[in-house]
C-alpha cells in the first residue's frame, strides 16, 4: 500500500491552481473535467512521479467550519518540505504571500506557516541536519 495522493480543500479551483502552480511552484499532473467540476492534482517538479496533491473543492457544508476552526488556531491543512526554508520564505514573501508564522526552529525541523489564499494554512518544513 502506498500514499499516492493527499488533498486540500480549496475555496476556488482556479485561484488554487494559480497559487499552487505559479506561486508555490508545483505543476499540474491531472486536470480532468468531472461534471461541473474538475479532478485537479499537482505534483512537485522535483518529484513528478511522487505523491499528488488534489485540489478539492470546499463545497461540502462541513468543510468551511472545519477549515475555519483550523485557521483560527493557526493549524496547517498540509505540510510541504523544502531544502532551504529561509530562502523559500523570502521568495514567497516577495511574491506577496502572507505568512502567519515566520520561520522558527522546532526541534529537528525549521518551520513556517503561510496562507494559501484558498482558506488554508500551509506549513513549510526544512529538516535540519544532524
Amino acid at each position: 500500500m502506498r500514499i499516492y495522493i493527499t488533498s486540500v480543500f480549496v475555496d476556488d479551483l482556479s485561484k488554487a491552481l494559480d497559487f499552487y502552480t505559479r506561486v508555490l511552484g508545483f505543476q499540474v499532473k491531472h486536470d480532468v473535467p468531472i461534471g461541473e467540476s474538475r479532478w485537479l492534482t499537482v505534483v512537485s517538479p522535483e518529484a513528478p512521479e511522487g505523491t499528488e496533491l488534489l485540489l478539492e473543492p470546499s463545497g461540502h457544508p462541513a468543510v468551511k467550519p472545519f477549515k475555519d476552526a483550523l485557521v483560527e488556531d493557526g493549524i496547517p491543512a498540509a505540510s510541504f518540505q523544502v531544502d532551504d526554508l529561509d530562502a523559500e520564505h523570502n521568495r514567497l514573501r516577495d511574491l506577496g504571500v502572507s505568512f502567519t508564522m515566520a520561520p522558527m526552529d522546532a526541534g529537528p525541523v525549521r518551520m513556517a506557516v503561510l496562507d494559501d489564499t484558498c482558506g488554508n494554512l500551509i506549513q513549510l518544513v526544512q529538516m535540519l541536519g544532524e
Binding site: I75, T100, M104, A106, G107
Partner: protein, 96 residues
C-alpha cells in the same frame, strides 16, 4: 483589581506549563495556538495536547495575563503583564 482577580492571577501562575507559556510569549509575542504548541514540543518539555494548551491559555486569558487579537482569521496571543504588576502592588510588595 479585586480579590477574585488576584486569585486568578496566582492560580494562573501556579502551573509550570503556564509559566513557560508566559516565558515563551515574552521572548516571542504574537503567537497562534499552533505556534505555542510547536514551541512547547521544540523546547523538549512534556508534549502537551492542543486541548491541554487551549485550557492553559484560557486560564491565562481569564487572569488577564494574555490578550487575544485577530490577525486575519487567526487568533494571536500576546502577554499583558499589567495584572502581574497589580498583584505585586496589591499583595506581593508588602512581603518583599
Amino acid at each position: 483589581m479585586d480579590a477574585e482577580q488576584l486569585d486568578q492571577v496566582f492560580k494562573a501562575l501556579a502551573d509550570p506549563t503556564r509559566r513557560r507559556i508566559i516565558d515563551r510569549l515574552r521572548e516571542q509575542p504574537d503567537q497562534s495556538l499552533f505556534q505555542i504548541c510547536a514551541a512547547s514540543v521544540a523546547q523538549g518539555g512534556v508534549a502537551l495536547s492542543r486541548q491541554a494548551i487551549t485550557q492553559h491559555l484560557d486560564m491565562l486569558q481569564k487572569a488577564g495575563l494574555i490578550q487575544v487579537r485577530w490577525a486575519g482569521r487567526t487568533k494571536i496571543h500576546s502577554l499583558n503583564l499589567h495584572p502581574l504588576q497589580k498583584a505585586v502592588d496589591l499583595w506581593l510588595r508588602k512581603h518583599l
